[in-house]
Amino acid sequence: MLEVKNLVKHFGEVKALDDLSFRAEDGQITGILGPNGAGKTTALRVLYGLLKAEQGTGFINGIDSQVDPQGARKKIGIFPDKFGLYERLTAREQISYFAELHGLKGEQREIALDNVIADLDIGDIANRKCAGFSQGQRMKVVLAQALVHQPKNLILDEPTRGLDVMSTRILRDVLTNLKQQGKCILFSSHVMQEVAALCDRVIVVAEGKVAAIGTPEELCERTQKPSLEEAFVSLIGSDEGIAA
C-alpha cells in the first residue's frame, strides 16, 4: 500500500505540491492523472524519499519514506519515465545488478533472474548488451529489473511514453496480472485512454492538488460527461497538456 499525506513542496517561487494527499490500495491499479507540470513526478519522488517535502510525508507499506527511505524502497519496484539502461551491460547483468541492490544473493538471485526472464519472455535478449535494444525490448528489461525482487508495490512513471502498440499491450497484460496477484500498482500518466482502460481508481491532480478521486465511471457521473476525457477537462478546467 502506498500513501502520501499533506505534501507541500516549492521549487523556488513555484508551488509544486499544495497539500497533496492520496493512497493506492493493494490489488488495485491506481492512476494519477494530470497535465504536464501538475506535480505527479514530484509527488512520486517524495514518496521514494528522493526529495524532501517541506510538509507531509509518504508511506510505503506503512514505512515513512522520509524517515527510512532505504527500508521503504525495499518494498517497491520502480519503472522510471526515462529508461536509463546501462548500455554496456547485458540485459541479464542489468537485472542482476538491481536484484543485488535489493539484497538478493547467489542462488536466490539466479532463481529470481530465471523467473523474471521467463515471465517477461526475454530469454532471447538476456545475454545481449542493452545498446541497440528496441524501445519495446528496453521496456521489458526495465520492467524485469523493477519486478525481480517481487515487490509488493509497483510504481510506474509515464510507462507508455514512446512505446508501440504491441509493447503497450504487453505492459497492460503484465499489470493486470500483477493486480490479480494482489499487488499495489500506482502509475502516473497524462494519456487518457490508458488510464480509462486500466485503472480501478483515478486520482486527478492539477496544480499540486487533488482535483478529484474515483473510478473512471464515478468521475464521468460526477461531472455529467460521457467520457473520461470530458470529465477530466471539466475537473481541471482546461485541456492543456493532455493527450487523448
Binding site: G71, R73, P80, F83, G84, Y86, R88, F98, L101
Partner: protein, 389 residues
C-alpha cells in the same frame, strides 16, 4: 552491497573502450615523452656539430688550420648553389663562411708584423654569430699562445698582458642540473594517475546522470554513501592501473636514457619503483574522489569535461611551481599531491631522510579522499546534483 555496486561499475567501465584506451594512453605517454625529451636534450648538449667553412690560402697558416680541424671546423669549398653538398655520400650543410689568409700571412707572422686574415659571412643569419665566435675563439687561442712565446723570447713575462684574470667557477653540479628534470619525472607519474581516471570519473557521474540511470540508482535501497564509495573505488582502480603502467614503463625506459653523458648519478631501481607505486595508491583514490566531486557538480557531461580539464592542471602547475621556485616548507610534505610529488622527487635524487612524512602524508591523503567522498554522498541527496538542475 558496496561489492555489488563496485562490480557493476567496474564491468561498465572496463567495457568502455574509449575510457580504457584513454587511461592507457595517459599512462604511457608521459614516460615515453619524457625519455624522448631527455635523450634529445642530452644529445644536443653533449655533441658538437661539424662546421664546414671555406679556407682560402690554407698553406699560409698550417698550424691554425690544424687547430681549426681539431675543433671540428673543416675546409670545404662553398657550393655554387644552395648550402648543401655531398661528402662521402652524405648530405652536409655548408655554413657559407669564408676565411681568407692574406698572401703575405706567413711572411708577416714570421717578421712580427700584423698578419691579416679575412672572415666573410652573412651576419644577418641567426646562427652565424655562434659560428663566427667559434672560429674566432680558436684563432684568438692561437694568437695568445704566439704572443706569450714571443714575449718570453724577449725576456718579458706573459702575465703583463693579463692585468686582471677572471676566474669562473661553475657551481652547478651534475646532480643539481638533473634535479629539475628528475622533478619533472615525478610530476609526470602523478599526472598519469589523474589522467587515467578522468574518463571513468566523468562517465560514472555526469555521464550516468545524462543517461538517466543515476536517479533510478539513487531510488534503489542503497545509501548514497555506498554508491559514492563504489564509484570512488572503481575510478581509483583505473588511476592505480595508470600509475602502475607509468612507474613500470619509467623503470624500463630510464636505463636507455644516456644520463651518464651528463655525469648524472641516478637511481631508479625496482625497489624505488615499488615505493613510488605504494605512494601512488592513496593518491589514486584521492584523485578519484576529487574528480568525481567535480564531475557530479557539473551540470552536464561536457561541463564536467571542461571543469576536469582545469582541475587536472593542479597536479601539474602547483608542483612545477614549487620545483622551479625551490620553495620549501614542512607543511608541503603533508598536503595531498604535493606530499607524493615531494617524496618522489626526493627519493629519485636519493635525498630522502625519513619515511615518516611519507606515511603521514599518505594517511592525510586517504583521510582527504574519505572527506571528499562524504561530501559527494551528501550532495547526492540534493535534487540539484542528482537531476543536474
Amino acid at each position: 552491497m558496496i561489492w555489488s555496486l563496485f562490480k557493476k561499475e567496474f564491468i561498465d567501465s572496463i567495457r568502455d573502450k574509449r575510457a580504457v584506451f584513454a587511461a592507457m594512453a595517459g599512462a604511457l605517454f608521459s614516460p615515453i615523452f619524457f625519455a624522448g625529451m631527455m635523450t634529445f636534450m642530452l644529445e644536443k648538449s653533449t655533441s658538437v656539430d661539424e662546421l664546414y667553412i671555406e679556407i682560402v690560402n690554407e698553406q699560409q697558416a698550417p698550424q691554425i688550420v690544424a687547430l681549426l680541424n681539431q675543433g671540428k671546423v673543416l675546409h670545404q669549398l662553398t657550393p655554387e648553389t644552395g648550402k648543401h653538398f655531398s661528402l662521402d655520400g652524405e648530405d652536409k650543410e655548408h655554413s657559407k663562411i669564408r676565411l681568407t689568409f692574406s698572401e703575405s700571412f706567413a711572411e708577416n707572422l714570421k717578421a712580427g708584423k700584423t698578419a691579416e686574415v679575412n672572415l666573410t659571412a652573412d651576419y644577418s643569419k641567426k646562427e652565424t654569430g655562434d659560428r663566427v665566435r667559434r672560429i674566432k675563439r680558436i684563432i684568438d687561442g692561437y694568437q695568445s699562445q704566439l704572443i706569450s712565446m714571443k714575449l718570453m723570447a724577449r725576456g718579458v713575462s706573459p702575465s703583463v698582458l693579463s692585468a686582471i684574470k677572471v676566474a669562473e667557477n661553475d657551481t652547478s653540479s651534475p646532480s643539481s642540473k638533473s634535479a629539475l628534470l628528475l622533478g619533472m619525472l615525478g610530476i609526470m607519474i602523478l599526472v598519469a594517475v589523474f589522467v587515467s581516471s578522468t574518463n571513468v570519473a566523468i562517465d560514472c557521474s555526469a555521464g550516468e546522470r545524462e543517461r538517466n540511470s543515476l536517479e533510478l540508482l539513487i531510488m534503489q535501497p542503497v545509501s548514497t554513501w555506498q554508491v559514492v564509495v563504489a564509484k570512488t573505488l572503481n575510478t581509483g582502480m583505473f588511476g592505480v592501473i595508470g600509475g602502475t603502467l607509468s612507474v613500470v614503463l619509467t623503470a624500463m625506459v630510464i636505463p636507455f636514457i644516456p644520463l651518464h653523458k651528463l655525469g648524472m648519478a641516478f637511481h631508479f631501481d625496482w625497489q624505488l619503483a615499488l615505493t613510488i607505486w605504494l605512494l601512488l595508491l592513496p593518491l589514486a583514490f584521492f584523485a578519484a574522489a576529487f574528480q568525481l566531486a567535480t564531475a557530479f557538480h557539473a551540470k552536464s557531461f561536457k561541463e564536467a569535461q571542461s571543469y576536469i580539464q582545469y582541475t587536472i592542471m593542479i597536479p601539474v602547475i602547483v608542483p612545477m611551481a614549487l620545483e622551479f621556485s625551490n620553495y620549501k616548507h614542512i607543511a608541503l610534505s603533508y598536503i595531498p599531491i604535493l606530499a607524493q610529488q615531494q617524496a618522489i622527487s626526493q627519493m629519485i635524487r636519493g635525498e630522502l631522510e625519513s619515511y615518516t612524512p611519507l606515511v603521514i602524508g599518505s594517511i592525510i591523503t586517504i583521510a582527504s579522499a574519505v572527506l571528499i567522498a562524504k561530501f559527494i554522498a551528501r550532495s547526492l541527496k540534493s535534487e540539484k546534483v542528482v537531476l543536474g538542475l
